[in-house]
Symmetry: C2
Subunit: 214 residues, 2 copies
């Protein structure tokens, strides 16, 4: 869907408010005010509030998925691949903290039909992680993760970054992403000094995907 | 603070609603209805809605902290200690998913004064993790974690369980807790086959601390 300037303004306001107060805590009037629109014209630009939420979540997951595909498509080594997936996930959750918070918190707020659409999109993203871990297990460099416990744990570990990351923190973002990649690779059994992923590449992809300043 | 039956009813209703709709998404009237009280008597039992939120968060963190102290107080080996901290955290987030969700999501909703009180309580809990990792690093069984990246990552990894755990899932809770302990210990560099923590003990402590059926 093409998105015009007013729609972008509405989305940005909604992301900020949903991240701060939760979906159910944001009224239409408040949202209209934040987007500098009347409540009536707001509906013109967004459909229902729930559709707006679903659009925001879908868009963020779509970007995560395409970034992850871009970062791993030319890579065969499962350790490098997983390191990139983790680093990308961490960088995205640090620089796009508000929208990833909305994705991580608000699945509960969607009605079944919209939820299914978003869950399918999230599953596609997680599937990339699952396949990479499986490839590593087949190659004997990772432990097997049949029930997806490691995959879920590592995704949540990285998502948590959006709760506390600050660009004024003790570690520069690159080092933080590197540490997470190390933790993840070691946890999967990749040995004590696993190879570090190509961070420059991950950073560039986040920049390209979100137009983010990092 | 002694808590009577009506207060317990109010808290339970609030935990359920805050976890489902977020703090800002729950109105006083809705909360009163869920607790089977009039709005006027609700105020008698809870003070302000924000104080109720802070009480819920404080109580949950207090239980987590005392459970973690109980589980580790007689243990010297940092690997066993950290394994227990992780297993306990995972079991608590699985069986007390709603209240831990409120703790994890709603810090943003507290005003600075109440937030400081809750953050201090959370810091005390995290301090136990930090000390254990430090002990392990001193003993040469863990990597050093000066900036707390591993501590934060492992806490978030375990907290994520409250988002998706179901007692009908593929893995029994004990095995799930065991897997997380393994992931955590390996990620810290404790070798490929780290020792598994005393799960029976962790389970008993969660039962005792929350009166939970597990």
């Amino acid at each position: 869907m093409a998105v015009n300037a007013t729609q972008t303004r509405v989305r940005k306001a909604a992301i900020r408010l949903f991240a701060k107060k939760g979906f159910h805590g944001v009224g239409i009037r408040e949202l209209a005010q934040a987007a500098k629109l009347s409540s009536a014209s707001l509906y013109h630009y967004m459909g229902t509030k729930e559709e707006l939420l679903a659009d925001i979540m879908w868009d963020c997951l779509e970007r995560l998925l395409s970034a992850a595909m871009l970062a791993t498509t030319d890579v065969n080594d499962p350790q490098e691949k997983l390191g990139r997936l983790v680093a990308l996930h961490v960088i995205a959750h640090a620089v796009q903290a508000k929208e990833t918070t909305v994705v991580d918190n608000e699945l509960r707020s969607l009605s079944p039909k919209l939820r299914r659409r978003i869950v399918a999109q999230r599953d596609a993203y997680e599937q990339l992680w699952a396949e990479t871990i499986e490839e590593g297990a087949r190659d004997g460099v990772f432990r097997s993760d049949k029930e997806g416990v490691a995959r879920r744990g590592l995704l949540e570990m990285g998502s948590g970054v959006s709760r506390w990351y600050s660009s004024k923190g003790a570690l520069p973002l690159d080092q933080l992403a590197e540490r997470y990649a190390e933790l993840a690779l070691r946890s999967l059994g990749a040995g004590d000094d696993p190879p570090l992923p190509d961070l420059q590449r991950c950073r560039t992809i986040v920049k390209y995907t979100w137009g983010a300043k990092i």
